[in-house]
Symmetry: C4
């Protein structure tokens, strides 16, 4: 096998497509948002990516049938709109720094060929505490794009995120710039302790304005309520435990979902 | 040396062979099962695999003679049966994700050439507690195979294994699918704390039906009794220790065998 | 992308240039010193280095605009002086040993082509406690150079640094020797707990003699006072905490700046 | 630079040379033994090995002069004896499993060319407690060699070392076998907590019989006494400490020397 193997089921011809990335990350915000949009827009899968840079693992579905961990590309053609859309979602990001660079670079060569000029990467911005009204923070490849995003309600806050953007959501922006692509990262504020469908919703609220679509948030909201119920139960269990139980509780929750 | 070096002592000509993998893993279930079957069927070694993806180590036998850590391929020809068999066993799996992918892929090119169309990977399914009557869980490359395995008593349980299958037992399935091979992973339930010959036995009880052979389980059962004696002793030591001994005991047992 | 990608905005023609490295490291001493000197001498950036050996990350500036983590090369031409200067600064060193070797070797091929014969690498020497009057310790590629540096006040102390010099500051010396370059590492003593502009200043005090320039230290001193204020506050917080708070405080400070 | 760079200062022509490896490892037994023998036999360095597989580091000598971490090859020609000798010593072993394999394989191609047919790798066998009269354990590439070594007093003990031999001392044997070389690993028993010149001495006592030389052990014995004095002091400090000091003491000593 090659280091990165892309198998196309179709090579779509697209109209000035916008590229949207939503791989797993902080609070799985980007993944939730992108997968929800794929469902709502009824997008079509056209490529599978497997790689030695992913974990050596297969996923088992509810029927007991396996598939290799992978990243997937989807597209949606939109009559009467100025841009079609390409999506990248998947099970994992690259395991090593090298893998991250190689995978992002490969994806960029593919979407470049499809005619992509604009990228939105979606992610969570972990702030380490529960947040009532999550903001959507942004970062972009140039100042004009920053202004454009401000008009959509995206917050650009000096010193946030202080440590930069790590992983595919960052690299696709940074490397995308070298490919001449205008790129924005949209980050929904999240505690970072749980999978966070609410943060995914606020990210989507920005993105749909840019894409000029209307979507239903029902499924995301049901997921949010599910998470709420689990965290409530865990909080109850916590208060019932001996007070000297050494920490770790909050961290444990991080693995839910 | 090459990244992966395969030295053949023989290139067997085989009749529609089934490929069985049993490398070290959870409870060493797969390794125990495959090695037991090799012994019972009197299989013949025909290739050694060494690689920079394995640990940098030699094994010393009881006479003081060394050999590099390796994986090994065996075959057994079976008159009057519809399938010959090829086995993969060894000291270690690949150390890194990349190594795992490269090694599984290389093995598949070899067994493809031998005419393999069907793979069984053997492993343990760690459930974190002692288990009276271990089930054999399954996962497969397609739905028809799932049904076929159900008829042999294999359990396909929604959400198990939730985290997918990691390592060679998963990759050979996932990559094997790309090589057009029908593949099944058989996982014997095990605590995961010890080497578990009992879980190996239940896995073999399924496999022998598929292979249409009869084997003797005596050697496996003796090993199981040995492990029982060790764990009993450890339990005794445990109860004799000061009650404030900080945990870790159960983990320690995990390294036995 | 290539493993290491260097993009030149200019290929300067230089007069017997001296090469100065100041990448992040212990107390960020080398980085602070080199960046201060770049500012004071008004050096010009002429190349960007990006690489899969760096962390997979983008930096976000105060306006919300991103750039890939990188290393950068600067030069300064100096009329009437015998040596021009080339600088290497950046966000990170290579993540893996292999990356460190590959990056240092690549930089050396670039500066060799620019005519560099002499290298100064700048760093901190962590001694694990606060230091009133930091010394500048040295290491060099040959004995004559050691003597020359002693005349500038550099301390060569038997057994310091006992563990050798790790990272780019060491490798550029060691590999540079193979390129026929005379090289010196200047290490300012520092606690190693904080970013240390005072250690950067003492390193620069030596270097300016070698370079025959005069610079202003005001900006470095302001940074030093800032750090002092933060550490004072932290010390106050520490004394107010329950005395049985388990350690970690001092380590935390290490990440400031 | 290449992945592994070997620079020869000389290409010696040797008479049926024996190859002896003594790189850092458990108790630094192999390194101490090989370096002592190099000194006693007044061997000549003929090659330097640097590599991206080593740590990215330079060593600073007492005069402040640096050199890259490396491995080194020495030879000694012996009039009237049936075998000349080649030595491998150095600062580090390869950092990663891949590095270990690549470095050992490269060294074997070099010594093969020099005519080597027999290898002795030297190391320590850590037993986790102080040992009065250290044995020399062995492992070899074939049974005849095991018998030959038994005659020199080497102990071949079933199940020791149970976990095999890790690192260069193992790989040179295992890979050497593929190069058709007869190889032995000699392991001096050591606590594994300290650098152990006494274990190095017992290893040498076996090796000198094989090499038919006489050497002086004075320098090794002085080092052993130095270590004894340090461990005595540490034991004193230990008994003076509060009894509830949590462990770690013994581990700390492991890093001495």
């Amino acid at each position: 096998m090659q280091d990165i193997e892309v198998s196309f089921s179709e090579k779509p011809v697209l109209n000035d497509p916008i590229f949207i990335e939503g791989l797993p990350g902080v609070g799985n915000v980007g993944k939730l948002a992108a997968e929800h949009l794929i469902e709502q827009l009824n997008a079509t899968k056209f490529a599978d990516i497997i790689s030695k840079y992913f974990p050596p693992q297969v996923i088992v579905n509810d029927e007991g049938v396996i598939r290799l961990v992978s990243n997937e590309l989807y597209y949606v053609k939109r009559e009467g709109r100025s841009n079609d859309i390409v999506f990248l979602v998947g099970d994992y990001q690259g395991v090593t720094p090298e893998g991250q660079y190689m995978l992002s670079d490969r994806v960029l060569t593919i979407v470049k060929e499809l005619g992509v000029n604009r990228i939105f990467t979606l992610g969570g911005y972990g702030i380490g505490k529960m947040v009532e009204k999550p903001r959507v923070l942004g970062a972009a490849t140039d100042a004009a794009l920053v202004d454009e995003m401000k008009n959509l309600g995206v917050v650009f806050s000096k010193g946030e995120p202080g440590s930069g953007i790590v992983g595919a959501s960052g690299l696709l922006l940074g490397l995308g710039k070298l490919y001449g692509m205008q790129s924005v990262c949209l980050m929904g504020e999240t505690s970072g302790y749980f999978v966070d469908p609410r943060a995914a919703e606020v990210v989507l609220e920005v993105l749909v304005k840019e894409l000029d679509v209307q979507i239903d948030y029902e499924a995301l909201r049901r997921k949010a309520q599910q998470i709420d119920r689990i965290t409530e139960r865990l909080k109850d269990m916590e208060t019932q435990q001996a007070p000297d139980t050494p920490g770790g509780r909050r961290e444990d929750l991080g693995y839910i979902g």
